[in-house]
Symmetry: C2
Subunit: 251 residues, 2 copies
């Protein structure tokens, strides 16, 4: 019964009634007619304005919500939120969560992060300006100061990596970082922490920074790789099913 091999006809290109409203509000948001952070008009007003039923209006608002153009809390007025890179990544959150279901998904994601950050430290080593170096130094200092407080260290750890993502001065990158951390956090947090591990990570960071300062791209990349590989190894032993590195992006 499930073998209807025929080609799906796919004839229709018509639109739902809500699409019109979506487009309209969308445009109002982008044009600034509906300023950022401002509440959307009441549903009943919208239904009058567009001459549609409330159901349609609600669907439109819901769609805008899913697209990240408005933020809707259970019983509150939807609030306009101009789209940012962060919003984009937030929108995929749910799906990524599913992809992370199997350990393999986590591995893939983590490896993509490794891949990305390898390129970041290389970039940093080659092009970091004085300010960037200072930022890294500061982050590293906070790092060291938090060695005895695992929670604080976790924060400062992320912050250190975060600086790396900011160096290219591309707003997309920090968004990528926060996406990585938020997606990987659940798996990371189940990992045991200890001042010893913190100290170890601190030293890893220190070495990376050293290489960057020396403008040693290769060295920095290697240090970063070792840093993240070690961390992954920790995850691997913490979680049972992982291993079998069929093929990887490590260098």
């Amino acid at each position: 019964m499930p073998e209807t091999t025929t080609v799906p006809p796919e004839p229709h290109g018509d639109e739902r009634a809500s699409d019109r409203i979506i487009r309209h509000i969308e445009q109002q948001i982008l044009s600034g007619t509906l300023p950022d952070r401002s509440p959307l008009p009441a549903e009943r007003d919208l239904m009058e304005q567009f001459g549609s039923s409330r159901a349609v209006v609600r669907e439109a608002i819901s769609a805008l919500g899913h697209r990240g153009l408005v933020e809707q809390r259970p019983r509150f007025r939807p609030v306009v939120r101009k789209p940012g890179v962060e919003a984009a990544f937030a929108a995929v959150g749910n799906i990524v969560e599913h992809l992370l279901g199997d350990e393999n998904g986590v591995r893939n994601l983590y490896e993509s992060r490794l891949f990305f950050e390898k390129a970041l430290v290389r970039q940093a080593a080659l092009h970091a300006c004085k300010q960037d170096i200072d930022d890294l130094r500061t982050a590293l200092a906070h790092n060291e100061a938090a060695i005895d407080d695992s929670e604080a260290f976790y924060q400062s750890d992320m912050a250190f990596h975060g600086v790396l993502y900011r160096i290219p001065r591309n707003p997309i990158f920090p968004a990528v970082h926060s996406a990585y951390t938020s997606w990987l956090a659940p798996h990371w947090s189940r990992m045991p922490r200890s001042p010893e591990r913190n100290a170890m990570n601190f030293r890893s960071h220190a070495e990376i920074l050293e290489r960057i300062i020396e403008r040693d791209a290769d060295g920095a990349e290697i240090a970063l790789r070792r840093h993240l590989d070690t961390a992954w190894e920790y995850v691997r032993v913490t979680f049972p099913s992982s291993s079998t590195p069929g093929r990887d992006t490590r260098s």
Copy 2:
């Protein structure tokens, strides 16, 4: 008016009625109870099954649609679609479209792509196996064969880069590639094409491949960088307002 100085109460952790349905169906999809490609139960059946009104059921389905778990065409039965990495990127499509509104957004995205592909060619140079090289060679050949047909060349161009994304053997990467191409396509396609440009791009690809074969990571990276920089320059002169403010729209 917007100065309710108190902290947003955020009291409610309550959920909409649709959330229950969403979770349930979500789980059914993941567990395989609702197989991939199979139609969702009728709305009226669902409303009976969950004891909710149709509005709620519809909202749930709509949400699943926006999350990429089901594919809904205007007047057809929603179809289950197990989430893949592609689905994730597809979900952000709308938002990214907005981000690309200003030329700056395009530039940021394009630069992130340059950043990513630099790392890719480096990876390729260091770790590409024979098969990978062969794939690149094949893609390059298709490239050359399509020099006189700009449309075909465009396809083979993407294909060549696509091979690069597949080399790390991480399913996330090809998804990133298709995301880049689909997002950048509208801007790219408005650029004039010509056999001359095609030939030029072909030569760029050839050089990149050469460097990869020579295991010259730095050389490959430089070649790739030059390749994409040139392409961007083309975009820059094609569109009036790009970086370097003060440019005049007259051409």
